[in-house]
């Protein structure tokens, strides 16, 4: 082995003890905070906020103009405007803030700066996830705020139905699941664009198709498909709420044999939906973390 004895005996060596690894649990919130500040300074944050304010303004104007049928009762109002839009919006903000979170570190070479620090890769991943979640959740909160302002104008301040609270909770859980998948794709590809496109396609179209296929053709309970779970965000505004672990279904004539009546699952029960979404968050995070853990910075 090529070795040369020390040129100098180091007088500062005793101070090497100063350089201990910083505690892990301090680093995650620290990195999250710096990352969030990055989002708050980014153009995309204000562009997204602008889009939401625009959507909210259109919605307010349309509601104000037509009134009658749109504002008959609070449950219908929130069911249409929040229940109908929230899951779409979740995908939009998750992709926007998470789509390049990991890939961008490779593509923009900012990862080399972070990786020169004594941080675990998982710390970076989790810190970025928390920051992206906070930024995306802020956007959802903004939209909810605009709706509430309308609702309070038409129905008064105490008329917000419990369904809205439940639906919002489900939407925030769904946000975790979508962001989990977004981060996973983002660490799978070193090019940001793939992460954006794949997540958007999958969550806006892919899963819905898959759900239809599984329930209508395979006649199975599509618990593995997230759109089945996220359907709860709007279904909780229905007259009866399925709280359970078993999804709602209808009986229909079979596609293949028209004489057979089959059970078609339409949407998960609330408890079931939450479990599925948390499962997605867990699995995608574990896969994403282990991908990022192994990845070469080169």
């Amino acid at each position: 082995m090529a070795t040369i004895s020390p040129a100098t005996t180091d007088p500062v060596a005793s101070s090497l003890i100063r350089f201990r690894a910083p505690p892990l649990l301090h680093q995650i919130p620290k990195l999250a905070r710096y990352q969030l500040r990055e989002y708050l300074r980014s153009r995309r944050f204000y562009a997204m906020a602008g889009i939401i304010v625009f959507l909210g303004t259109v919605l307010t104007a349309v509601t104000g103009y037509y009134r009658g049928p749109l504002v008959t009762d609070p449950v219908t109002f929130y069911g249409t405007d929040w229940g109908g839009a929230a899951s779409f919006l979740v995908v939009l903000v998750a992709v926007l803030f998470g789509g390049d979170a990991i890939a961008g570190e490779f593509q923009n070479k900012t990862g080399y700066f972070l990786m020169g620090l004594p941080v675990r890769r998982s710390t970076v991943y989790l810190g970025k996830f928390l920051a992206a979640y906070a930024a995306a959740a802020a956007m959802m909160g903004l939209f909810l705020g605009i709706l509430l302002a309308n609702g309070i104008f038409y129905f008064g301040s105490r008329a917000a139905p419990w369904q809205l609270g439940l639906s919002a909770l489900l939407a925030f859980v769904y946000l975790g699941a979508v962001l989990g998948a977004t981060f996973m794709f983002s660490s799978l590809f070193k090019t940001s664009a793939y992460g954006f496109v794949l997540t958007a396609l999958l969550f806006l179209i892919g899963f819905t198709l898959l759900q239809d296929y599984i329930s209508a053709i395979a006649h199975a309970q599509p618990w593995m498909v997230i759109s089945y779970a996220s359907g709860t965000i709007s279904s909780v505004f229905d007259p009866t709420v399925n709280w359970g672990l078993n999804g709602s279904w209808t009986l229909m004539r079979g596609d293949i044999d028209k004489n057979v009546v089959v059970k078609i699952y339409t949407v998960a029960g609330v408890a079931e939906g939450i479990l599925i979404m948390l499962g997605y968050l867990l699995v995608t995070s574990l896969v994403g973390l282990s991908l990022f853990e192994r990845e070469d910075f080169s």
Partner: protein, 315 residues
């Protein structure tokens, strides 16, 4: 651990079937500056990325201050300052903010930051830009901030991958001055470079990598005497113009001096055969002759010849 150190044992990295680094065994310890030389693609960056766990080895292991880099990256990097691949800093940050982030994430107490950040930004001549956003900086300015980020926590081990990349000549000489000053504080500096002049000027020892294999690792004078075909060569600078013939006539000039050639009006290159002992003698005689010697350094060309002869062997 009593002294700063880095060590690699059988460190190997393959990319597919291509071996970028081939069983590197290297142990460097103590306060000094080691130049890590090698042509483009010889595996220098690969070595540094392995040491900082940015990539994983196919075989072997490596240590910073005796801490295994891959199983305990946080502890290993806590004692190191790193600059690899000219990273980008988040463009919305100012140098002050970027360095604060480094200190904060490293868990250094806040009351130690302020003075330290100011000092290190002054050292890299970026004080005037401390509160401007990095996004608009030139490559050289970003590199200065990167150097500051590697040094801001006063680490015992400093790993630098071609630190003068992107710098103008003044920037390069400023970096050399910083490195020389760092050396005086008993740090271990391990620096890859393809600039032989930079290495001869600031490093005490050199390691040469070629095609992923270590050719040698030794002190600079030993390298010169081991591989230098018995030819020593020093560049001597005077405080006034000199005539090489006049130097030749100084009484007592050792007989093994083979050649004296002018390098400029007030600088000559003295070549000699024989042991490095005659170099010591030569210096004493020149000083005693009272000709106003202000510089006496190992010729770059000596290292250059060795470099070229050693790397061509690998072809």
């Amino acid at each position: 651990m009593t002294v700063p150190s880095i060590e690699t044992r059988g460190l190997t990295r393959k990319f597919g079937s291509f071996t970028a680094l081939d069983h590197l065994d290297l142990k460097v310890e103590g306060g000094k500056c080691v130049g890590f030389l090698g042509p483009n693609g010889s595996g220098k960056t690969t070595t540094l990325k392995l040491l900082t766990a940015m990539i994983y080895p196919t075989e072997g292991e490596c240590y910073i201050n005796d801490i295994p880099c891959h199983t305990d990256r946080t502890a290993a990097l806590a004692g190191a300052g790193v600059l690899i691949e000219s990273p980008e800093i988040y463009p919305s940050l100012t140098p002050n903010e970027a360095l604060e982030m480094v200190e904060d994430v490293r868990g250094i107490p806040r009351d130690e930051w302020k003075g330290r950040i100011e000092t290190v930004l002054a050292e890299v001549r970026m004080s005037d830009w401390a509160d401007k956003k990095v996004g608009k900086f030139s490559k050289g300015m970003k590199q200065r901030v990167n150097i500051a980020a590697a040094l801001v926590h006063d680490p015992p081990v400093v790993l630098l991958d071609e630190p003068s990349t992107g710098l103008d000549p003044r920037g390069m000489s400023e970096v050399r001055a910083i490195l020389r000053a760092l050396k005086q504080t008993h740090r271990l500096i391990f620096m890859s470079s393809h600039l032989l002049s930079e290495v001869t000027e600031v490093c005490d020892e050199v390691a040469l990598l070629d095609h992923g294999k270590l050719r040698f690792y030794d002190t600079l004078p030993n390298v010169v005497s081991r591989f230098g075909k018995d030819q020593g060569s020093v560049d001597v600078t005077f405080d006034h113009p000199v005539d090489p013939a006049a130097v030749r006539r100084i009484s007592g000039i050792p007989s093994d001096v083979t050649d004296i050639t002018p390098l400029g009006t007030s600088q000559v290159r003295i070549k000699f055969s024989g042991p490095s002992a005659s170099k010591k003698l030569l210096l004493r005689i020149l000083v005693d002759a009272d000709l106003g010697v202000v510089g006496f350094v190992e010729s770059e060309s000596a290292l250059e010849e060795i470099y070229l002869s050693q790397i061509s062997r690998g072809e």
